[in-house]
């Protein structure tokens, strides 16, 4: 599609020049609308990928500060990337929307409330200590939830009903050697994440056990932490970059050390999409571009890595019916579709797909907090679809989706690695054991 973005703007900003090329690849066929969650809810071109491409085009053509309506429609995008995954013309929407959002944050002054919420989230999420305090605060506010609406109520509702697990010792920097008597096949770094270390410590614990059992040494590298995605999704590149650089440094220190590193393992697909894009994020910085590209090339979702090294035979017959919810960052962002399901099958589970599986559950990082209305509609639709297949347990590879859906689907919701760990000799996932006790 032809755009008329002024040459001067393109010369001044490499991201605008890139945007012009990306827009040029769009032929306006409309296929992306069929997969877009916001279009499924709103049925309005401005809330579709094709519409947002037009809006971004208009924003750059006009220059200066974008108007409030354009910003609202760009905000409504979940960045689920279902559009990019189905686009036959290869339009790189992810880059277009990411740089578009940076432009918005640089040129548009948001109303005070939005600014406070966004800045708080950017500070809170990557910091486990602060995040814990915020959850405690949210719990206090719960009885008064009726007094709040919109984002604030969504925040209060997001606070887990159960008490938080104690911080896990596995999330501290250290090395987990393979079990004595097992040959070391690989050595990997694990991204423990930010939110995950607060909300559900069992996921990293299960991941480490699973890897160790398969002869893989796991390093939690000193200095690694939040991948930077929460800030990046809100267009705050300046806040994301220090986190990105810290991770790159931490992992390359290991990779270039005497022991070396075969991969960076990520068990939260939202973070995986982000780490795999480090190469693009840092491409214009000559000091970091190569290093970032190296890290991106080493990044693997745990399901990709387990597929590569091969899953050992199941230690116990589980035979459970698992409904597998593929996170958007997994299926669209990273195009990992069959590996998690194949691993679950190999581990002895019966795997069921979610109808309309391409649709986002509405979690989408901080989206459920910033756009509670659309998020709620998508959540209800996803819950209906998951319930429709009558499974015994639901599994996913992304903490965000698990938090969004766990309380609603009527069955235990666990991470894929927890099931793989259990089937190959680890403990039964806590959520399953608890459900079993209730049933007994």
């Amino acid at each position: 599609m032809l755009s008329h973005i002024p040459q001067a703007a393109q010369d001044a900003d490499a991201n605008i020049k890139l945007a012009k090329e990306i827009i040029g690849n769009c032929v306006h066929c409309g296929v992306c609308l069929s997969r877009c969650p916001t279009y499924a809810v709103r049925h309005e071109e401005n809330d579709s990928p094709r519409g947002r491409i037009f809006l971004i085009k208009g924003m750059y053509e006009k220059g200066g500060a974008p108007d409030a309506r354009t910003v609202e429609h760009l905000d409504r995008c979940l960045t689920c990337l279902a559009c990019e995954a189905i686009c036959p013309s290869g339009v790189e929407y992810s880059k277009l929307i990411a740089h578009g959002r940076e432009y918005v944050e640089q040129h548009y002054r948001r109303p005070l409330f939005q600014r406070v919420v966004r800045e708080s989230l950017i500070k809170l999420l990557p910091n486990a200590g602060l995040f814990r305090k915020a959850i405690a605060l949210g719990r206090l506010a719960r009885p008064a939830r009726g007094l709040f609406s919109g984002t604030l109520r969504a925040m209060i509702d997001m606070v887990p009903a159960n008490s938080l697990p104690a911080p896990s010792s596995v999330d501290r920097p250290q090395t987990f050697a393979v079990k004595p008597g097992t040959a070391r096949r690989k050595r990997v770094a694990l991204l423990n994440g930010c939110v995950q270390t607060v909300l559900d410590t069992a996921i990293n614990e299960a991941t480490i056990r699973l890897l160790q059992r398969h002869g893989v040494e796991v390093v939690v590298a000193q200095g690694s932490g939040c991948c930077g995605a929460p800030a990046e999704h809100m267009g705050a590149e300046d806040k994301a970059l220090p986190l990105v650089k810290a991770n790159i440094d931490a992992w390359l220190r290991e990779a270039d050390g005497p022991e070396g590193l075969d991969a960076v393992i990520i068990n939260t697909s939202g973070c995986g999409t982000s780490v795999k894009a480090y190469g693009h994020t840092m491409r214009l910085d000559p000091q970091w571009a190569d290093k970032a590209a190296r890290v991106s090339a080493m990044a693997r979702d745990i399901s990709e890595f387990m597929t590569e090294i091969g899953l050992m035979p199941a230690a116990r017959p589980t035979g459970m019916r698992v409904v597998y919810h593929s996170a958007c960052s997994m299926q669209h962002g990273q195009r990992i579709i069959n590996q998690p399901k194949d691993l679950l099958r190999a581990a002895g589970f019966t795997v069921l797909d979610v109808p309309e599986g391409y649709l986002c559950c509405g979690s989408a990082g901080t989206y459920n907090l910033l756009q509670p209305d659309i998020a709620q509609q998508l959540k209800e639709r996803k819950v209906r679809n998951i319930r429709s297949v009558s499974a015994q347990v639901a599994a996913s590879g992304n903490i965000g989706c698990m938090t969004q859906l766990a309380g609603e689907v009527g069955i235990p919701f666990v991470h894929t690695v927890e099931l793989l760990d259990w089937a190959t000799g680890g403990p039964e996932p806590a959520a399953l054991a608890k459900a079993q006790m209730v049933a007994d």
């Binding site: 032809l2 032929v27 306006h28 066929c29 409309g30 609308l33 037009f54 809006l55 354009t70």
Partner: protein, 497 residues
Amino acid sequence: MQMPEPSQAIMNQRDALAVALRQIVGQEWVISDEAERRPYQCDGITAYMAMPLLVVLPGSAAEVQQILRLCHEKGVKVVPRGSGTSLSGGALPLEDGILLVTSRLCNVLEVDAANRVARVQPGVPNIKISEAVQHLGLCYMPDPSSQLISTIGGNVAENAGGVHCLKYGVTANHILGLEAVLMTGEILHLGGAYLGAAEGELDLMGVLTGSEGLLAMVTEIAVRLEPVPEVARVISMSFPSVEEACACVGAIVGAGIIPAGLEFMDRKVLDAVSVLIRETFDSSTAALLLCELDGTAVEVDALVDVVSDVARAQGAIETKVSTTEEERQRIWSSRKLAFSAIGKLCPDYYCTDGTIPRNKLPEVLNKMADMSVKYGLDYANCFHAGDGNLHPIIMYDAAKPGDLEKAEAFGADVLIACVDAGGVLSGEHGVGVEKRDLMTHQFTEIDLNQQQMVKCAFDPAELLNPGKVFPTACRCAEFGRMHVRNGAVRFPDIPRF
């Protein structure tokens, strides 16, 4: 592209009109902000853009009726739009007209498995009908390549075809009933949940199907459901030359076989879709035919052998038969996404839609090669070979001055060649604005006058989608047949719809 001169007087009333329309559909469903109207400037053809006066998204048929009544009263033009995938510019907005978008009317209202009928709203994407009835072993057969998102209302407006229309027929063959609203707000109920018009009545449903939004707004459709064929397999046949592939098309049909689909893709298209299809093609392959055979297992097995033999006799390098349903789906999805995949090869493309007798395929394709040299523009071919429905994809760069004009002239030459070969301007994309000015090449003035009189009978004020299909404005006032004079209708004895 010459469009009717916009009326400044109407454009000046934009704000007042927005207020009146918001009373009908609610605040948020009238889009008046300029930034938000911009994404509605074009449909599937980006070469033609116009800023709509307002964009209106009704939530019910009753709202459609009120909107049309209001616009009729105020003399405001109305352009209907579904998902905006038209390849003929059928939903190109008018600066002095509202864009009436059906995307919120997207419910499957009723599925009647016993009678194999579904009642649906016009904004339902084509594929959603089949998805809604797949648990019953049924489907909606017409499958235009845009079916993931193109709406059934738009399919009715364009009388859309698709891969499977060779065996199963086009949209018109699968529509059993329509509810439509005239520009005056009058509601028509046409057809019913059965096939064919009642005896002695005009087939007005047939008139509306393919009328490109010029006659009425369709607000409900009863579609025919078909059983999903027990078995379907697709044979990929590669040929060393375009001529041999074309000859094979005639040979298959000549052997007495009506495949479920028979599609042609040339080398350029193959290279563009090879990633989607997850296959690479031998360097000697110049063209690929995809032939789908469906029916009972025994029938399909027998037909596969016959078609494979025919292909080999016609010089096929290789014939491959799909072995799983997943493989078959993948092959078809690559074909259906082929147009968009061409977007990877060039900044812009222009796809046209002439249809010719099968035996003229080699002749017209050769002419196309000459035209490509003449205009200096590359092109690719991907089309419904079985029914001679050509879709040359002309590649150009809108940023290059004069390129679009050359592409348009190339496209026009192709269409003229189609008509001269005994064919027609459009197989399934419609005339819209894209082929409008070529109508005089296919039709005589008498033909066109007659067609315009139909338009005038439905919409004498010429407010519905004007500037489309006909190269000149209709002369409804001149025809004047249906005008009410002093409250008395002429020829009161003739039954009216």
